[in-house]
Symmetry: C3
Subunit: 139 residues, 3 copies
């Protein structure tokens, strides 16, 4: 059994953003030399997500509006968490809808994906550096 660990650093320029990290994950799998196994990709921050969906800008716009409807950023004062001096309570909620991590299969040394699957980092409280963890186990 072999394992491989790697971090990706990201900095979204806006409060909320979706960034395609599929190339970095694919590269980590190649570097690991692992042919068959599982790969965990998770946000190391609790106001961000890692999820799999379509790389289509209209859909990302729909996600943005939908999440803002389900857990609005403002008014800031509607959330108890923001009494701590933060203004990111909504980001902690949005991240639960989109998920913390994905676990993906590795087959023949590659991401074992359907035709449209792409891995995204979902930022809900950006404009600072954040990390994604890649952990691979297999053989």
């Amino acid at each position: 059994m072999r394992t491989h660990r790697q971090e990706i650093w990201l900095e979204a320029r806006t409060r909320r953003d979706f960034i395609n990290i599929t190339p970095q994950v694919a590269e980590a799998i190649t570097e690991s030399g692992i042919q068959e196994g599982l790969c965990l990709v998770n946000a190391m921050h609790i106001t961000a997500s890692v999820f799999i969906n379509d790389d289509e800008s209209g859909l990302h716009n729909d996600y943005e509006r939908w999440l803002e409807g389900l857990a609005p950023h403002e008014p800031i004062g509607q959330y108890k968490h923001n009494l701590t001096g933060e203004d990111n309570a909504d980001a902690h909620l949005k991240r639960q809808i989109m998920g913390r991590s994905v676990t993906v299969a590795i087959t023949n040394g590659r991401l074992d994906f359907g035709p449209w699957e792409q891995i995204f980092y979902g930022e809900f409280d950006g404009r600072r550096k954040k990390r994604v963890l890649i952990k691979i186990i297999g053989e």
Copy 2:
């Protein structure tokens, strides 16, 4: 370490449906011969889910109405994604609530489950053939 890979093909007759795939997953585990490990079960399509919950038709009806309330199919034109010619933007949203995949434990060669846990394929844009991936690693 051993790994095992299998696909399940499904075709829901309606736009939305929940299909119990526990027997197929249990069979794949038996075929793999793996006694102790982890099993990933994921939709290979981005308008479908794999999740674990109760096999109770009333609950499935509740899920259907609840998801339709949170992310209505119509009017089609409310979603930018549908400007691409698709009508399935709502399916991409519903799938995020229900999740892409489950990771389950294998103990003594069997699904290590609580008494009511069952694995479902959740279809949100059906009436065509779709795939679920099963990837097992262990010993």
Copy 3:
């Protein structure tokens, strides 16, 4: 390859509660002796969640109000599942938002976490004993 399995028993005194189980998961990893690998932590019940977020009571209060807004407990009769004699349909819905399980990386024999990540058991139909499963694989 080695594996390790452990159960945690919990009993929330209220219908809904969030309980930090990070110490029990960390202890299970130490007991396993596994240095590099993956750890699955999942609710074995379908009206409960395991998720990762902040250990901040204001945020937990926000989660409680938010989930109650998205899937209200009452009126009981609004859910078909409750026609079976249950009153917990809302718990099956809330659990889908918060998730069934987390998969976390183990590096150098420890939870490989960002600075604020903590693992919680989310109870949505409490006042009885329930179980969480920990399954670790690695080396």
